[in-house]
């Protein structure tokens, strides 16, 4: 009955699939950690248990088991078997609890940062990650694309120098690049701070000094990602651009004697559409992508949180972050699908003619 509104139908259809993906992803997120045979409470007990008598250790352990919902509990008391050993909760029950908690925005309690809530950790860290990544990605993408398009359009000397340069840049692993930046601009010639999000003699506030300090600490991490990103984008844009250059409509535009900027604009806009996908995806991967950069610069972002969680097998934390990543990436992909649908008449028209996507 949606035949009348092809675009709407398209959107709904996509949304449907993405929702399905989301559900499955959540389930996998939940199951994967539990495939490993090791019981996370042991990790805490390893630290908490040392020096305790066996009896005390056992009681403490049960306290945690109950807390993390790993044992059956009826009205506050642990359900026990004949030998008085607590009965472990089944995966299904655990999954049930998990979903219940997620639905109210509770991602559980971090093992390693116990008794801190995962959601709180994320709330504190996420702004930093976004602050570090969002501008970097946008700048890198825009500048990369513009340079790429120019290289494609101008060719000649500019391209001959620019292209290998960009290619080289893009083949740097960005963390290697980060290390080199730290080594040179922080150790050899101490121009910029090598770590942290802002000077330690400051407390986060809306003071000028604070934001300056943030900006100052921002430089190295920014360039460690920006340059490589821009390089990569430029390469992609360049070959897209060259491809478009060969197309008839560009030739025709030249035959018609359109202004150079106009032709460049044609080129840019059409070559850009595929690049949009790249943008959305890298925005979606922000969280996961920040990991190593944040490690190298001790940047107080979410990547750091994930990393410490990884090193301590802090499953609730890992799960929480993975869930976040999942959501971001899915949203990103979804937006791409929709955006392309709207920005690219080719697709849009395709819908109206009813070919589906």
């Amino acid at each position: 009955m949606l035949k009348k509104y092809p675009t709407l139908r398209y959107i709904l259809q996509r949304a449907g699939w993405y929702f399905l993906t989301f559900i499955v992803a959540v389930a996998i997120n939940f199951l994967l950690p539990r495939l490993g045979n090791n019981n996370p409470v042991d990790i805490i007990m390893g630290k908490a248990g040392s020096g305790l008598s066996t009896e005390d250790a056992r009681q403490k352990e049960e306290k945690y088991l109950q807390e993390f919902g790993l044992v059956k509990v009826s009205n506050g008391a642990i359900v026990r078997d004949a030998e008085g050993k607590p009965i472990k909760a089944s995966k299904i029950e655990q999954f049930g609890n998990y979903l219940k908690m997620c639905s109210v925005g509770d991602l559980g309690t971090s093992f390693q940062k116990y008794p801190k809530k995962v959601i709180d950790v994320i709330k504190e860290a996420l702004p930093w990650t976004i602050a570090l990544q969002l501008p970097t990605i946008l700048f890198g993408w825009i500048i990369g694309n513009i340079l790429g398009a120019l290289a494609a359009y101008r060719r000649g000397v500019f391209d001959k120098i620019f292209f290998p340069g960009a290619l080289l840049l893009s083949s740097f692993p960005f963390f290697v690049f980060g290390m080199l930046l730290v080594y040179y601009f922080s150790v050899v010639i101490p121009w910029f701070p090598s770590m942290g999000g802002y000077a330690n003699d400051l407390v986060p506030s809306f003071s000028f000094a604070f934001f300056q300090s943030v900006g100052y600490h921002y430089v190295l991490p920014f360039f460690s990602i920006f340059l490589i990103l821009a390089g990569g984008q430029a390469i992609g844009m360049r070959s897209m651009g060259i491809y478009e250059l060969g197309t008839d409509y560009i030739k025709y535009a030249k035959w018609l004697g359109l202004k150079e900027n106009k032709v460049l604009a044609y080129l840019f806009r059409n070559a850009m559409l595929p690049q949009l996908t790249g943008l959305a995806l890298s925005l979606g991967n922000m969280v996961g992508g920040a990991l190593i950069t944040e490690m190298i610069f001790s940047y107080p972002g979410l990547g750091m949180a994930i990393l410490t969680a990884i090193q301590n097998n802090d499953y609730p934390m890992i799960q929480g972050c993975t869930l976040l990543i999942t959501i971001c990436v899915l949203i990103a992909n979804f937006t791409v699908d929709i955006m392309i649908g709207f920005f690219d008449p080719r697709v849009k028209a395709g819908l109206q003619i009813g070919k589906g996507k």
């Binding site: 699939w17 993405y18 399905l20 993906t21 499955v24 992803a25 996998i28 997120n29 994967l32 950690p33 495939l35 490993g36 045979n37 090791n38 060719r155 290998p164 290619l167 080289l168 893009s170 083949s171 740097f172 692993p173 963390f175 290697v176 290390m179 080199l180 730290v182 080594y183 150790v187 050899v188 390469i235 070959s239 060259i242 491809y243 250059l245 060969g246 197309t247 996961g288 990991l291 190593i292 490690m295 190298i296 990393l307 990884i310 090193q311 097998n313 890992i318 993975t322 990543i325 999942t326 990436v329 899915l330 992909n333």
Partner: protein
């Protein structure tokens, strides 16, 4: 450009293969911690007094190994899924899309820790290669998919379908050959990204525990404070090697693009 790329790439491979013949590879301790470059060990020693030449050659070997292992797995998976989805279209396509998205949204490092934690002897180089491959196929699937769905409408294929050739036959006989050059380029990129991912994974301390790789060399250098002490030989040579390999692969890829996509020539 192609020539340079090939030259660089085979250069590195040569080092990996011939290196052990020229230099005596030893994981033994040969001198003091972080002895600076000079004399026989012209790339210096690491924190355990091991010779960096040996380490780098071993590292190069394992990085290439991981790269190719991951590349082959990822390309195969990606191509098959991509071609099939693009060719079939409809709900099959949507479903495969979903699977692809699933692999995109679950970060590979999560899978890596969780899987490796269930192996008693810990993470081996091969395991890492496999996991990278298993998680990296997604984008090649996407791009191959686009290509094959474009091909689908080509006359000769429509014809073959009409003549009632079964899907598999059409895929293998009529579509794959057309995509071959494309798939090969995808493979090259996958190898490059495989090498990069290994390094990244090693950097966050999830690297192989059974051997040295360029990634673990860098990680070790970082953990043992080489940056602070200005021990440049601990991380610059490894960085250079990684970059060169990837650069070489990119060069090859782009120049091939130029060949197979006439428009990029000129």
């Amino acid at each position: 450009m192609f020539v340079i790329g090939i030259a660089l790439f085979f250069g590195t491979i040569l080092i990996a293969l011939v290196g052990p013949v020229i230099f005596t590879i030893t994981m033994e301790r040969v001198g003091p911690q972080y002895a600076p470059p000079g004399g026989r060990y012209f790339l210096g020693l690491n924190d355990l007094g091991q010779d960096y030449i040996s380490l780098l050659i071993r590292g190069l070997q394992s990085s290439l190994y991981v790269g190719f292992l991951a590349g082959i797995i990822a390309t195969t998976l990606g191509t098959l899924i991509g071609i099939y989805g693009g060719f079939k279209g409809g709900w099959v396509d949507d479903f495969l899309n979903m699977v692809t998205n699933l692999f995109i949204v679950i970060p590979s490092f999560v899978i890596l820790i969780l899987i490796s934690s269930s192996f008693k002897e810990g993470r081996s180089l091969t395991l890492i290669g496999i996991i990278i491959g298993m998680t990296a196929w997604t984008w090649s699937a996407r791009s191959v998919r686009a290509q094959s769905s474009a091909l689908k409408s080509k006359d000769h294929i429509a014809l073959a379908k009409m003549n009632g050739a079964n899907t598999l036959k059409v895929l293998l006989v009529h579509i794959l050959p057309y995509l071959f050059s494309y798939v090969f380029m995808v493979f090259i990129l996958q190898v490059a990204s495989g090498i990069l991912s290994e390094a990244a994974i090693s950097m966050i301390g999830l690297g192989p525990l059974d051997t040295v790789s360029l990634g673990t060399i860098l990680n070790q250098a970082k953990n043992t404070g080489a940056l602070g002490d200005g021990v440049w030989w601990a991380f610059i040579p490894a960085s250079v090697i990684i970059t060169v390999i990837v650069f070489a692969l990119y060069l090859i890829n782009t120049s091939m693009e130029g060949v197979f996509n006439p428009r990029l020539r000129k």
